[in-house]
């Protein structure tokens, strides 16, 4: 199970203080047998339209994780909602990167600076340490070269905040095992050929990357069944979504 979850004395305890709702899933055996049976016996309708991703919990956590006045780069910032909040609530100096012109326009009308660009080429134009924090909110699994971007994230910034859907969540696993097809859940509603998620990975995959990189985890949060809590070792199976703060070592 995950080797290195955070107990670092250098971390501000306030940063990790548990403000989140505590809700652990029940034991494995009594564990929603009915739901497992239901997932295994019915195939969900695949979504066609892209639902508005509810990133509110992640935004909330990121706002808490970011110190006032720092320089923040948001990769794949979409319409600038997070940066606008950070500018307002944390007085950060923000810069976004986004590929979609309409999203750039919306961000501009919010007072957020966004550079329209494709992240697939990396961030070579930024010198080392241009930012204090680099955010990859639900973006990493959509990139052609995730490892390149993770390296760039920790070159350009000292800290990175990475959030992603955890493809080892039990509903996803059950769906895959039962149907033998790429899983469909509420959070992952697309056909494999329509999905932006071209690099699905799990929490454990991410922790493996941390172990082989010049990075360490300084904070982690998971989201499942509508609740946010501190990341735990068993979360590879229990977390629907994960948000991890990493730091260059």
């Amino acid at each position: 199970m995950p080797p290195s979850l955070p107990h670092d004395p250098r971390i501000d305890p306030g940063l990790l203080a548990e403000r989140d709702v505590e809700r652990l899933p029940p034991g494995l055996f009594e564990w929603r047998v009915a739901e497992v049976v239901q997932i295994a016996s019915t195939r969900r309708e695949r979504g066609h339209a892209r639902p508005a991703a509810n990133l509110r919990w992640q935004d909330d956590v990121i706002v808490r994780e970011i110190q006032p006045g720092v320089r923040v780069l948001d990769l794949g910032c979409g319409n600038g909602q997070l940066l606008e909040r950070l500018q307002r609530e944390r007085q950060i100096r923000g810069q976004g990167i986004e590929i979609d012109a309409t999203a750039v326009l919306t961000a501009t009308t919010r007072g957020v600076s966004v550079f329209q660009a494709d992240l697939s080429q990396g961030l070579s134009w930024f010198p080392d340490d241009s930012f204090d924090v680099v955010v990859l909110e639900e973006t990493l699994q959509t990139l052609a070269q995730p490892r390149l971007m993770l390296g760039e994230m920790l070159r350009v910034g000292r800290r990175g905040i990475v959030s992603f859907p955890n493809f080892a969540h039990w509903r996803v696993v059950v769906d895959l095992v039962a149907h033998g097809r790429m899983p469909v859940t509420e959070r992952l509603p697309y056909h494999w050929y329509d999905s932006d998620n071209i690099h699905p990975f799990t929490l454990q995959d991410f922790l493996d990357w941390v172990d082989t990189s010049n990075a360490r985890i300084v904070a982690g949060h998971s989201f499942s069944d509508g609740a946010v809590r501190a990341l735990r070792p068993e979360d590879n199976l229990h977390a629907e979504e994960v948000l991890v703060v990493v730091e260059r070592t």
């Binding site: 100096r93 810069q95 012109a101 750039v104 326009l105 961000a107 501009t108 009308t109 919010r110 007072g111 600076s113 966004v114 550079f115 329209q116 660009a117 134009w125 930024f126 010198p127 241009s130």
Partner: protein, 403 residues
């Protein structure tokens, strides 16, 4: 976008249907002229020349706030003028009949409720040094002879324009700009103003412009000037009062106009159609194709409203411009001077100043630590896209200006 040329209609009758009374218009405008440099203490120019007196024609729209902190400076492009918005009531009398049938060149952008909202901002737009719309230029009288300067007018640069515009702001008691906005050479002026006077510019909007012309851009300017210089009526620039080098200037404009358009748009609007009244191929070497007639009309109408010597001087100023000199040849170093928040817009169909070159400027800015918004606006209108109403351009500008 291919539009009717200036001056092709008779003046619209004025009255209850006054276009200037339409909602969103700044209304009737009146150019102002101010002497910024006296004959006694001439202005020293970047390339060593001296000029004085210098008058500048400018227009303003909106109301200057008490704190004088709501000023948006609009910089015009190569053949533009100070008449950026609204309708010029004195157009006919002032010898500018083309203005009677069309509003200022950025009328869709500037006005009450528009992207550059004149209920919020005080807009200033001056004509540049060396041009021919009221600001001193080669067609102005040389005080030593009393006759037009012609080619005795000193060489000017975009830096000189910006220096002169700073004098205009001084004269109007404006210390700091809310924003400077421009497209093409106007975009380069906006960039230069943010570089030259970092403490006077809070925001800059640069459209369809990069840090310097490419070899291709220099080439088009060179061919245009060659057309003018080769015109037998050019007479070393001393053609005032005689026959004008009309064919040279028209040819220069025809060439330049092609570079402002996009092939897709030209093909769609004009294609390979023959001119109305042309019986078929083989008539000769005049205007057989519709596109030839269109360009011919562009050239002719330009001759009615622009001075050939000014064309030489203004294109040369474009040629000389290179923003990287502020960083010893390095654009990123240059950008470190700037304190303005920047909005860079490129247009997808612009091949004269292609999106990559605008993007390179935006990258240099971001590399230097600046706050930059960059977007490539979908468009079919080529380099001139910034001159045509587009929801995305307008919303980008209004959004950027409100923060």
């Amino acid at each position: 976008m291919i539009v009717e040329a200036h001056g092709s209609h008779s003046p619209r009758p004025l009255g209850v249907s006054d276009p200037a009374l339409k909602e969103g218009s700044v209304g009737w405008t009146r150019p102002k002229t101010i002497r910024l440099v006296s004959a006694e203490t001439p202005m020293t120019l970047e390339l060593g020349g001296r000029i004085g007196p210098v008058d500048v024609e400018y227009e303003t729209y909106g109301v200057l706030s008490e704190a004088r902190d709501n000023v948006v400076f609009v910089a015009h492009a190569l053949s533009g003028d100070a008449h950026a918005a609204g309708w010029d009531r004195e157009a006919q009398g002032a010898g500018r009949p083309w203005r009677a049938t069309s509003p200022g060149w950025w009328d869709f952008m500037i006005g009450p409720g528009k992207a550059i909202d004149t209920t919020k901002y005080f807009v200033i737009c001056p004509n540049v040094l060396g041009s021919c719309y009221g600001t001193t230029g080669p067609s102005s009288p040389d005080p030593t002879t009393g006759t037009p300067y012609g080619l005795r007018f000193p060489k000017v640069t975009i830096g000189d324009w910006v220096d002169l515009h700073a004098r205009l702001l001084d004269a109007l008691g404006i210390e700091r700009l809310w924003a400077v906005v421009g497209g093409s050479v106007g975009g380069q002026q906006a960039l230069e103003m943010a570089l030259r006077f970092p403490d006077r510019v809070a925001r800059a909007v640069v459209m369809s412009a990069s840090t310097r012309l490419s070899a291709q851009g220099l080439s088009f300017n060179a061919v245009g000037r060659t057309c003018i210089l080769a015109d037998p009526n050019f007479a070393g620039g001393d053609y005032y009062g005689g026959k004008l080098p009309a064919s040279g200037l028209a040819s220069a404009r025809m060439l330049a106009h092609i570079t402002y358009l996009a092939d897709g748009d030209m093909h769609e609007k004009l294609g390979r159609r023959l001119q109305a009244g042309t019986s078929g191929p083989g008539e000769g070497f005049g205007n057989e194709f519709a596109v030839e007639g269109y360009l011919d009309q562009q050239g002719r109408s330009f001759v009615e409203r622009f001075d050939a010597n000014s064309y030489l001087y203004v294109t040369r100023a474009m040629d000389y411009y290179d923003a990287s000199v502020w960083g010893g040849g390095d654009v990123t170093e240059a950008c470190r001077r700037m304190k303005a928040r920047m909005l860079i817009l490129s247009f997808a169909s612009d091949w004269l100043c292609p999106p990559e070159s605008c993007r390179a400027l935006a990258l240099a800015l971001i590399k230097s630590g600046g706050k930059v918004t960059y977007a490539n606006v979908p468009s079919q209108d080529g380099h001139d896209s910034f001159l045509f109403a587009s929801e995305m351009t307008e919303r980008m500008v209004s959004g950027f200006l409100s923060f």
